[in-house]
Structure formats: structure tokens, C-alpha cells
């Protein structure tokens, strides 16, 4: 193979912030004082926080060095399954940083905030169209927040029909957030197993769906990277018993312009703007989790809603059946601007191409690594594929060893040990923004690692070697938590 991407270079050690401060330094240009000091109530006065004092140079070097210990999409391929770590276009950063948006107070009089309201109104329309649903709220701040919104919608809908019901069906391939979101609304999760093809079987759902079940939460494509081919039949069963179908849209990147979620019988769907719609993940957020619904759930959407009255945009509270508010203001507007910019940059043909190439990249990886790694579900995949460490078992090499070694080759590991239905899962989502050359190198690297697993397993056990830190002791971190310094 060509030279591996991963190498070592000079990176710097850097202490904790408070290990480098010195009283008397300052990194801040204190604004000019143009008023006198006023007296203060001594009973209320405090000492001020015990922060280190640092110069601007100290600060800049500190964070520059720290940043160099991170792997990021801008450094290389980040194939985390179900996370859609695609390239984050730089123009989106420029757009969201425009002072008109960045400096805008959320409670500005409406006629002085028409620009951002128009953007939000149009983004809702675009997301509604892309998902094939009927209406959208942009308020939820993350995917799990969108799920919570969805469950609150379920609750409000059923309550309006008489009783909120008490159970919810969750497939064994679901993200952990699904059952956690459902229990916030008091719903008890009922697990349904996926069948031998890795998808939901209508019979299994029919057996547990009843009049006390609020509905089902389905991720489609699911976390095995498979299209839920029985989704329409499943939806029919759930609807026939008065239930609703929730779609976890974390994997929407596979089906833009290909599938209408609304046509599948999905009643509520959340999107992750920080996955499909290219806003950066920020090392753990902020994201945004808009929720799209069909007509019958629209009255329950969170308020305020952006409405267009004769060409003037307003924020309306006039929705008496609304579930209420999920965010102090309107959600993560800065993230919305990035997603809006992305959609306008791509256009209808571009978005469809995104999904086609995302699927092509995953299919190509699946076919090329089949045989090297165990492929538990050997079927056409969507935007991600799931392998396991079964073939490496004889060499006492685990998924963890394999992916830690992948770091030394210069790639971020895929998602591991998820979905739970595959023991030792390795879940690879390349996304559409990786080129054939980079994907070939990734495949070659994994093949080389499989060979090493056979010949020199100790290399994998000791990996990673080229990173800033070697494997960390997570057990003692949890046993004796040290959460601040």
C-alpha cells in the first residue's frame, strides 16, 4: 500500500489552564471606565471567581496546542456510523457569522428581525419538502431534543383523542436516545426484535401493538444501514390500532430525493442538521433537531411558529393545542443558517447526488471489506455498513483493538459496539464527501490491519502508538471520578 496517512510529528505538551497562570497577567482589554464607582451591598458582595490570570499569548498557545491533539473532519476521514461526519462547508461559517444574525437579540421587535425570520420560514419549507412531510418546527436544539419533542407530540395527540397511552415500541436496533426520550414522557419502551434480515417484521410489531401503545419509533434506514423494507406494512399495523409512527431521521443522508418519509406512513420525524445538513458537530454540539410532521400533528407543534402574513414574518403563539416551548427562544438559529446555506448551495439535484454518493461509498466499502471482516447482514446497504470482529476472534483481537490500530493509520475509528444486535459491531459511514482515493486507502488500511491481527496481534493490542495519548484508563476514571481540577 501507499504510505499511510498517520504519522508522528512534533506536538506540544500543554498543562491545564490553572497550572500556567500568574497573578498580575491579563488577556483582556478592559473597556474604558467612563462612570464612577457606586456603592454595593456588602452582604451580597462576593469574592469573584478563582480563575487563573493569563496573557493573550498564553491563551492562544494553550488552545492552539490543545486543538492539535484533536482529530477532525478537516484533518481526515471520520467514518462514525450514524453520525454522518461529512465535510462542513466553510461558506456556511461565513453566513452564520454575519453581524446581522450573530449580534441579533432574540426579542427584537419583529419588524426589525425580518431577515432571520424569512430564513427560518424558508428553511422550514425546504425541510418539509425534503422529507415529504407537511410542516416543520426548528425549535429542538439537538436530535435527542427533537425526539423529546416528538414524544411530547405523541402524548398531546393521544391525549386529545382521550388517553395518552402508556407504551411505545422501540426496535432493538434503535439509538439509546429513543427509549430515553420516550421515558421522559412516561412511556414504557417495549422492545421489538429485528428479524434475520436485520429489519422489522410486520408480524412482530402486530403481536405487541395494542390500544395502549402510543406508537413505534423507527430509524430508517436503520442502524444496520438497511432500509426498513416493511415500513409501510408496519405503519399500517400501528395506525390501525390508533398509534403513531416516529421516524428517527438521523440517517436521512441516505435518502434525500429518493424516499418521502411522509409516504412511508411516518407521522413525526426529526432531522439532525449537524449530520445530514452539514453543520459542524463542534466536538459535541451545538446541533439542531428540527421535527417534521404530517398534517394531523401540526396543531401540536411547539410555539412560537414563524408565520407569513402578507409578506411580513411574525412569530405567532396563536396555536392553542401546542405542546409549548422546548427552547428559551427559537432554537439554534446559528445552526439553521448553516443548514439553509447548505441546501441553497446544493439545490435539488445536488442533495439527491449527496445521497447517491453516500450510498455508493458505503456499498463500495462493504463489498471491498467483505471477507476481510465478518459481514453479519450481507444485503444491499444504504449509507453505512456494519461488520463485526468475528473473523479476528481466533487471534484474540477485538473490535476495540482493530479501531485503535486504525488511528495509527490516520483514520478516525468507525462507531463500535453499536448497534447492539451485532456483537463486536464496526459501523462504518463514510459519507459522500470522501473521495475514491481516500476510501481506497481506508480499505487498504483495514485490510493491512486484518493481516496484522493474524501475524502481529500485539501491534493491535498496544495500539494506538502515534496519538497524543495511548489507551486511557476509563475504569479508574469512573471508579474515582475526578471531574474538576
Amino acid at each position: 500500500m501507499k504510505e499511510t496517512l498517520g504519522t508522528t510529528g512534533l506536538v506540544f505538551n500543554e498543562p491545564l489552564l490553572w497550572e500556567k497562570g500568574k497573578k498580575g497577567r491579563s488577556g483582556f482589554s478592559l473597556p474604558r471606565r467612563d462612570v464612577e464607582k457606586h456603592a454595593i451591598d456588602e452582604k451580597l458582595e462576593g469574592d469573584g471567581p478563582d480563575f487563573p490570570d493569563l496573557s493573550e499569548v498564553d491563551i492562544v498557545r494553550h488552545y492552539t496546542r490543545l486543538s492539535q491533539w484533536n482529530f477532525s473532519v478537516d484533518s481526515g476521514m471520520y467514518p462514525l456510523g450514524s453520525c454522518t461526519m461529512k465535510y462542513n462547508p466553510k461558506t456556511n461559517e461565513r453566513q452564520s457569522a454575519q453581524p446581522g444574525f450573530a449580534l441579533a437579540h432574540p426579542l427584537l421587535p419583529r419588524r426589525l428581525s425580518q431577515g432571520v425570520l424569512k430564513l427560518m420560514f424558508e428553511l422550514e419549507q425546504y425541510l418539509t419538502e425534503i422529507t415529504g412531510m407537511d410542516a416543520t418546527t426548528l425549535q429542538p436544539a439537538a436530535g435527542a431534543h427533537g425526539e423529546l419533542t416528538g414524544m411530547l407530540l405523541f402524548y398531546a395527540y393521544h391525549k386529545s383523542k382521550g388517553t395518552p397511552r402508556s407504551k411505545i415500541i422501540v426496535p432493538d436496533t434503535a439509538h439509546g436516545t429513543n427509549p430515553a426520550s420516550a421515558s421522559l414522557c412516561g412511556y414504557r419502551s417495549i422492545l421489538v426484535k429485528s428479524n434475520e434480515r436485520g429489519v422489522l417484521s410486520p408480524q412482530a410489531v402486530a403481536e405487541i401493538m395494542d390500544e395502549d401503545t402510543a406508537g413505534i419509533m423507527v430509524t430508517n434506514p436503520n442502524t444496520l444501514g438497511l432500509f426498513e423494507e416493511n415500513i409501510k406494512a408496519v405503519s399500517d399495523i400501528v395506525h390501525a390500532r390508533g398509534g403513531l409512527v416516529y421516524g428517527d431521521g438521523a440517517n436521512m443522508n441516505a435518502i434525500m430525493g429518493i424516499v418521502n418519509m411522509g409516504d412511508l406512513g411516518i407521522d413525526v420525524l426529526h432531522l439532525n442538521l449537524h449530520k445530514t445538513f452539514s453543520s459542524p458537530h463542534g466536538g459535541g454540539g451545538p446541533g439542531a433537531g428540527p421535527v417534521c410532521v404530517r398534517k394531523h400533528l401540526e396543531p401540536f407543534l411547539p410555539v412560537p411558529r414563524v408565520v407569513n402574513k402578507n409578506g411580513k414574518y411574525e412569530l405567532s403563539e396563536d396555536f392553542p393545542d401546542s405542546i409549548g416551548k422546548l427552547h428559551a427562544f427559537y432554537g439554534n438559529v446559528g445552526v439553521m443558517i448553516r443548514a439553509y446555506s447548505y441546501i441553497l448551495s446544493m439545490g435539488p439535484a445536488g442533495l439527491k447526488k449527496v445521497s447517491q454518493l453516500a450510498v455508493l461509498n458505503a456499498a463500495y466499502i462493504k463489498d471491498n471489506l467483505k471477507g476481510t471482516f465478518h459481514l453479519p447482514y450481507d444485503r444491499p446497504c444504504m449509507h453505512e455498513c456494519v461488520f463485526s470482529d468475528k473473523l479476528q476472534e481466533p487471534y484474540k483481537v477485538t473490535t476495540l483493538d482493530i479501531v485503535k490500530r486504525l488511528m495509527d493509520y490516520g483514520f478516525h475509528p468507525p462507531t463500535i459496539y453499536f448497534p447492539l444486535v451485532v456483537s463486536g459491531a464496526i459501523m462504518i459511514e463514510p459519507t459522500e464527501t470522501e473521495s475514491k482515493e481516500d476510501i481506497d486507502l481506508f480499505i487498504e488500511s483495514l485490510k493491512a490491519i486484518a493481516k496484522e491481527a493474524q501475524d502481529q496481534p500485539e501491534l493491535l493490542h498496544a495500539a494506538p502508538r502515534k496519538t497524543k495519548r495511548r489507551r486511557l484508563d476509563e475504569t479508574s476514571a469512573a471508579r474515582k471520578p475526578c471531574l474538576s481540577g
Binding site: 491579563s26 483582556f28 471606565r33 462612570v35 457606586h38 451580597l44 458582595e45 462576593g46 469573584g48 480563575f51 487563573p52 490570570d53 493569563l54 493573550e56 473532519v73 461529512k86 453566513q95 452564520s96 446581522g100 437579540h105 426579542l107 426589525l112 431577515g115 435527542a144 425526539e147 402524548y155 439509546g176 421522559l184 409501510k232 424516499v259 463542534g282 466536538g283 459535541g284 454540539g285 451545538p286 405542546i323 409549548g324 422546548l326 428559551a328 427562544f329 441553497l344 445536488g350 442533495l351 447517491q356 454518493l357 463500495y364 463489498d367 479501531v403 478516525h412 453499536f418 459522500e432 475514491k436 494506538p464 497524543k468 495511548r470 489507551r471 486511557l472 476509563e474 469512573a478 475526578c482
Partner: protein
């Protein structure tokens, strides 16, 4: 095509890759999807824009907004204008931070992990608490999660919330609690602008009490008294905030006995962005840590014994505990937490204190000038950088006239508090000059 600059595949690449997977067209990749699930028509959204067309389009939209320096915005109410040092904005833009995922693989994420560990530490110090998490979405969701946590710890069924807590935070709390069997009791505010604790004595099943300080009316709550009132109850004291800079001047929640301190951190170096993304700050006593929501970064060592950081106590969290998790939160607001820690570190302890004092002094100057001009300050309690003014009936007209002069003379309170007609919440931070304050006083007096 202009839209394809993020898609590196040449026609030859596509052909070669399709051949490798044994499919003859891109459409064919979806052949296994049942026919009746497939979309027939093209997406009905605008055709793609070039980068330059997009700039023009966005500039037009962003130009249609009222922001400083063109406008003088005397409005806080949960969103504050503060100077952000260039070093903070610049460092925050480093794409190693911006384009990384949640640090699940610690060996490759030590930058984010150490930075969040430092954020947790500085947040704990600022709030006077023992442990802070890696962030929540915003002040409102932080408050909702705090009350759910108070219920988990106390095993009670009622929470009490002051009416002087941000009205929008209270609405989010209501939304979160609606499907549960938990009851929210509201505490009125007194004529001095602080919370009336007298209804507490009839609340036997109280699991948590939330007050905000400085509260939405700008007033510092009497936290020591509140703590005293709770002494014989099992309820947790939740101290909420929307302007953490106040703790550069006033005693912090921990010093006043808070069990949980939570609120909005936008003030700490995060642009207002029409309300989001912001930063939910969340801290508590260490003895409650296993009931805390959200991500936590802990310190540990690697195989060579070198100090490093990892996500820890994950057994509380949704990906391990699923339906039994302490919260459903997954993606949080890591980059906003990073902005906040960079901001706190840049100011340092001395700078933070001085800046807080400057906010207070400007606000006090402004208060005095308004009072001298003959307007009424209805609440006597100490404030930080915002306060309520009662204007004479008919002030609405003046407010509209000032809008035309590009001055936003505070936030009208009657929408949230119908009894506070003609009352406005005014905010002054370090970004307002003495002339701006004098000018506004002159305008409203004329």
C-alpha cells in the same frame, strides 16, 4: 455544476465504483427499496446557488436586522451583549475543535476533552459548586433538567418555581413536565422584586425550589433566607441565572447554599445569534453526581501513566442505560462551552471581577440618571446590569419614536407580567458608553 464542490467523485470514479459493486447506475443503488416507497418527483427547492450568489442572498437577509453598532439595544432579558475578545473568536474557529465529533475516542480527542475538563472546572469555580457537566442546550432546558434531577434525588412530586424566574424558562419547564405526574407551584414576587416564600410552608411534598438570581426583574434574591426556609424540607435549592457575569461581583450560588446551579451562559463570549446556539450551564454538589444529566469529562492516565481525559460516568447516560438514563441528552453544546471557557480564561479572575464591576457601575449610573429624570424604579432590591423602570402611561409612543431613532429602549414587561403595564426591563453592559446612557435619558425625558 457549481453545487458539486463538496462531492469529489469524477464520472470515472463513479463508473469504477459502480462496477466494483456490480450495479449499473446510481439509481440502481436503491433498487432494493420497494417501488412504492420511492420518490418519483424531483425535490421542489430552489436551484443551487454559487458561493457568490449565496453571499449576496445572505447579506440581504442579514442586512434586514437591527443590530449594534447601528442600533443601541438596551435589552437583556436573557440575552446579553458583551465584547468578545478577538482571540476567543479566532481560537474558537479552529477547525480541529469545530469539525470534531463528541470525544468518544479519547486518544484522538484530547484537545476537546481537556478543554471541556477546564470548562467544568472554571464553571464549578464561578458558580461555587463541586461539579459541573459538559453543558446543556440553554438556560431553559438546564432548568427543566435541574427540576427533574431534584425530583430524582428527593423522590417528591412537587416543585416550586418563582415567578421571577425567566418566563420563557418556566414555559420550557412546563413543557418538559406536562406528561409527568409532577406538579409545578408558582411563587409570587414581593414589592421589592424578590420571591415571596410564604406559600412554601403549605407545600409538604416539595422536591425542589427554583429561584433565579439576579432574577428576571433584575433583582438579587435573598438566597441566604431562602436556604434557611428550606432547612427542614427535603427539597433541593436550584439557583438559576441568565447573566453569570453577576457572580464576578455578587456571591455565587454555591456560597448561598444551592444544591444545583444552572442557567444560561451566552453572556460568556457567545454571540447572541437570535437566541441560539447558547449554553446551558449545569452544576451541583458532588453527592448528587450520579443523578446529574449530561456528559462529564474526567481525568485519568494512559498506559504510560501520562495524564489524560475521558468521558466518564457514562452509566448514567442514554447510550448505556437507555430508558433508565438520567436524561436523553446526547449532543450538547460543547463548542459553546469551549467559547465560555476561552472567555473566562481570557478575562481571568481579575478581569472577570473588574468587568462585572463595570457593568454594575454603568447600570447604577443609568439608574440614578433615570430616577433623577423623574421616572420610577419600582423594585428597591439590588440589581446587577438590568433593572425595571416604570414609565408614565403612553410611553409606548415614545418607545416607537425611539425605534425610529435606532434605540431599543428596553424590553416591555406587560406581555409576561400583565400587572406590570408601562414597566420596561432595561439593560446596560460594558458595551454602552456614558453618552449612550445620557442620550437615552434625554430622549425619554423630552
Amino acid at each position: 455544476m457549481t453545487s458539486m464542490r463538496y462531492l469529489p467523485h469524477t464520472p470515472e470514479d463513479i463508473a469504477a465504483m459502480l462496477k466494483a459493486v456490480g450495479i449499473d447506475s446510481l439509481e440502481g443503488l436503491f433498487g432494493h427499496i420497494p417501488e412504492d416507497c420511492r420518490r418519483k418527483e424531483a425535490l421542489n427547492i430552489p436551484e443551487s446557488l454559487t458561493e457568490w450568489e449565496l453571499n449576496d442572498h445572505i447579506d440581504t437577509l442579514a442586512g434586514n436586522m437591527a443590530v449594534s453598532p447601528e442600533y443601541k439595544v438596551f435589552m437583556g432579558a436573557g440575552s446579553y451583549e458583551h465584547y468578545v475578545p478577538s482571540a476567543v473568536s479566532f481560537l474558537l474557529g479552529r477547525s480541529e475543535f469545530v469539525t470534531a465529533y463528541t470525544p468518544y475516542q479519547p486518544e484522538m480527542s484530547q484537545g476537546t476533552l481537556q478543554a471541556i475538563y477546564e470548562y467544568q472546572t472554571l464553571t464549578s469555580r464561578l458558580l461555587g459548586m463541586e461539579v459541573a457537566n459538559a453543558s446543556q442546550y440553554d438556560g431553559a432546558s438546564a432548568l427543566a433538567e435541574a427540576m427533574l434531577m431534584a425530583i430524582r434525588v428527593s423522590r417528591k412530586k412537587t416543585v416550586a418555581v418563582s415567578r421571577a424566574v425567566h418566563p420563557l424558562y418556566r414555559r420550557v419547564l412546563e413543557t418538559y413536565l406536562k406528561p409527568t405526574d409532577l406538579e409545578i407551584r408558582e411563587l409570587p414576587y414581593l414589592s421589592d422584586g424578590t420571591t415571596d416564600l410564604s406559600p412554601l410552608k403549605d407545600m409538604d411534598d416539595l422536591g425542589g425550589l427554583a429561584v433565579q438570581s439576579p432574577n428576571f426583574l433584575g433583582c438579587m434574591e435573598n438566597l441566604a433566607d431562602i436556604k434557611q426556609t428550606l432547612q427542614n424540607k427535603k427539597a433541593l435549592l436550584v439557583v438559576c441565572f441568565s447573566e453569570p457575569l453577576a457572580y464576578g461581583l455578587y456571591k455565587n450560588p454555591g456560597q448561598c447554599g444551592a444544591d444545583i446551579a444552572c442557567g444560561e451562559g451566552q453572556s460568556l463570549g457567545i454571540p447572541r445569534s437570535f437566541g441560539g446556539p447558547a449554553l446551558g450551564m449545569f452544576a451541583s454538589k458532588m453527592k448528587y453526581v450520579r443523578n446529574m444529566p449530561g456528559r462529564l469529562v474526567g481525568q485519568t492516565v494512559d498506559l504510560d501513566g501520562k495524564r489524560g481525559h475521558v468521558l466518564t460516568l457514562a452509566t448514567r447516560e442514554q447510550h448505556i442505560r437507555r430508558e433508565k438514563a438520567t436524561s436523553n441528552i446526547c449532543t450538547n453544546h460543547s463548542l459553546c462551552a469551549l467559547a465560555a471557557v476561552m472567555y473566562m480564561a481570557t478575562l481571568g479572575g481579575s478581569g472577570f471581577k473588574e468587568l462585572a464591576r463595570l457593568n454594575y457601575d454603568k447600570s447604577e449610573y443609568f439608574k440614578a440618571a433615570i430616577k433623577q429624570a423623574g421616572f420610577k424604579l419600582p423594585f428597591s432590591r439590588a440589581t446587577f446590569n438590568e433593572f425595571v423602570v416604570e414609565f408614565p402611561a403612553g410611553f409606548k409612543k415614545t418607545y416607537q419614536r425611539l425605534l425610529k431613532k435606532k434605540i431599543i429602549a428596553g424590553f416591555p414587561l406587560d406581555g409576561f407580567y400583565p400587572e406590570l403595564k408601562n414597566h420596561y426591563l432595561l439593560c446596560v453592559t460594558e458595551t454602552m458608553h456614558k453618552e449612550d446612557l445620557d442620550n437615552l435619558v434625554q430622549e425619554i425625558s423630552s
